[in-house]
Amino acid sequence: MTGFIILGTFMGLIIVSFAAITQKKLADSIILFMGVGLGSVVLFFIFKAPDVALTEAVIGAGISSLIFLMALKHLGEEK
């Protein structure tokens, strides 16, 4: 069962990361990047690293995405 969860999360991570780098709008990319962070939180927790999982949830998926969004709003929607 755990193996299926790990496999599914890995597949989902690959798909979401690919979607994140191919988005046209940068805001969508950032939201998908947040999704990649959440997926890796699940993986870290399954692989018995709760400290790293908490750090990733707080910093990787939380505040760094928000800082990216603020920087994007400051720069404007340009590519």
């Binding site: 400290d51 707080v58 910093i59 939380g62 505040i63 603020m70 709003k73």
Partner: protein
């Protein structure tokens, strides 16, 4: 399209690029030295640290490694975060008050009043119980900073006073170094564990000597620095 290309060329000065190349070269050199001096049985290094962990009387082995065995690294990390915060403050600081055009939604305002104490409590819990459960100073500090961010986007008049940030940051940084120096005086080791840390106390809140103390200090410092970064970005956002 062609105009934008010219802009990109103008915005990338050669000095910065050569600086990046030089630092990359340095990092590669250091990596090369490290890889050549790597011990052959690399998997035993972690085991040795884990065996030593029991002597400090801290339930969470990761905390012992981060704060005690690699305490100097943590001091350096905090210094790096401080420099990042300083750089963002230097680039983005403006004296003008927040002037958001649109009022935020009243649901956001009401929810932030309910959520902010809970976020603050959770951050402080993660910070104080860092030596017993997963988490610690960095995570707790960033959780508190995200609570501050919630208040900043919901209340347009809200602002963390600069003097409070300066006081908290100075207190935290100075006391970290002071604790290290007291350890140097008492035990001849920088950041030595000079408070009682008996193994029979393992798992209690007051255990592990200076380790929970240092994690709380790290939490205060990281929380104030991240709050300052977020506030500078938000205020800069509203100026434009």
């Amino acid at each position: 399209m062609s105009r934008r290309k010219i802009n990109i060329k103008r915005e990338l000065p050669t000095t910065t690029l050569s600086g990046f190349a030089l630092s990359g070269l340095l990092v590669l050199t250091i990596l090369n030295i490290l890889l050549h001096n790597m011990p052959t049985k690399i998997q035993t290094a972690g085991d040795a640290l884990l065996k030593l962990n029991a002597t400090e009387g801290v339930a969470n082995a990761v905390t012992t490694v981060i704060v005690f065995f690699r305490g100097l690294d943590t001091l350096g990390e905090i210094a790096v975060l401080f420099i990042a915060s300083l750089g963002i403050g230097l680039m983005l600081h403006s004296n003008s008050k927040c002037n958001i055009k649109a009022e935020s939604n009243f649901m956001l305002q009401t929810a932030s009043k309910i959520l902010f104490p809970v976020i603050l409590l959770f951050g402080i819990y993660v910070m104080i119980y860092g030596h017993l459960s997963p988490g610690g100073g960095f995570q707790g500090g960033v959780i508190i900073a995200s609570g501050v961010l919630l208040l900043l986007i919901s209340h347009k008049a809200f602002e963390v006073p600069h003097s409070v940030i300066v006081a908290l940051e100075t207190f935290a940084g100075v006391s970290y170094v002071l604790i290290g120096l007291i350890g140097l005086l008492v035990l001849d080791v920088f950041l030595g564990n000079f408070l009682p840390h008996d193994i029979s106390q393992m798992g209690l809140l007051l255990s592990g000597g200076i380790i929970p103390l240092i994690y709380i200090i790290v939490g205060i410092k990281v929380g104030s620095e991240m709050s300052m970064i977020v506030q500078n970005l938000i205020k800069r956002d509203h100026d434009v």
